[in-house]
Symmetry: C2
Subunit: 201 residues, 2 copies
């Protein structure tokens, strides 16, 4: 480990906090900041502070939002009978890019994970139940990732939601990605695709 002068070391450590950034990348980022003008560095720092200060969590769905309620939740044209439950704001963005989904969202803010000690209380699960309890919801789509944590969280939510009889609880379809090649699909995906097979005639 090379010794860096203190202010550089501090900056490297901050960059290492970003997801997927190892020490080499952090050094590269830190050195690139040194090439900024003072004004550019101030702009960068302001963007960090500003984002944290001005972006909140939507009071209803917990998606990121500039206002108290996000544009999706306040859009009267969205189908309020359907709630798509996702792990985080990035998943909302992914669905919004598809442009086919017109329902609302509910951002959990994570997944159940005993290893990382993320329990149900730390996720926005209570708030989801409150929304369903309030009525008007006909379907809850559990759209967590098809990972161990995502599946566990979906199962847990499905169980909690089972008491609301009029509410359909669904899970996203998992299988071979469109354009994918069977030959290269991993066994678990292939198994999912097989189990989820549809009748075409």
């Amino acid at each position: 480990m090379t010794d860096y002068i203190a202010p550089l070391q501090t900056l490297i450590e901050q960059f290492r906090r970003l997801p997927g950034v190892g020490s080499k990348t952090a050094v590269r980022f830190a050195l690139s900041v040194l090439k900024f003008t003072e004004e550019e560095a101030a702009r960068f720092a302001d963007a960090v502070i500003g984002a944290k200060r001005d972006i909140h969590s939507c009071r209803i769905c917990h998606n990121i939002s500039a206002g108290e309620v996000c544009p999706i939740c306040s859009d009267p044209d969205r189908d309020a009978e359907t709630i798509c439950v996702v792990e985080d704001a990035q998943d909302v963005m992914a669905f919004e890019r598809v442009r086919n989904y017109r329902g609302l969202y509910h951002v959990l803010g994570g997944l159940l994970n005993p290893r990382k000690q993320i329990s149900a209380e730390e996720l926005h699960i209570e708030e989801l139940l409150d929304r369903v309890e309030a009525g008007g919801v006909k379907e809850v789509i559990l759209a967590t990732n098809p990972t161990f944590e995502g599946d566990t969280t979906a199962l847990y939510l499905a169980k909690l939601l089972s008491k609301y009889e009029g509410v359909k609880v669904t899970r996203l379809a998992y299988g071979i990605p469109v354009g994918g090649d069977l030959e290269y699909a991993d066994e678990i995906t292939l198994d999912r695709a097989l189990q989820g097979r549809n009748t075409i005639r």
Copy 2:
């Protein structure tokens, strides 16, 4: 392109300024900042401002330094007769990790590059000539990368330095990396290795 709320968009744009960061990574970084506490975000921002404020360029070698003169230039145990010329501060770190080099450095702050309009005036070339002119230097090692720009810059410097008769001008050896496999070496590297071959008996 997804539309992001303004403060998020601003932060994404700032992260995109970092080397090798595309839009997807920038979004991931920006969203991870939203998970920081206010205090953590402030610490991150301070690190950026602080690095820019407290890190300067060494008056002698132009390496990054907390003081006016860097620890290497002010170390009386270093061999002041040898100057290793590199592109940037990262190259100095790479040499320092080897721990075998005891001479001084000179950081050019870039390479000659007509495409990016980087000309000799923008690099610390004049300052290098001043150091050699001042006397006491016996060897200048041109340690720019073996790329088109690196080679061009080295050739240019070699020409400028040729007027100092007592000063040996050398270039790093380029060839097959230690532990490398001839079979997988690209043609240019192999050609360099061949041209730079040494007599062993």
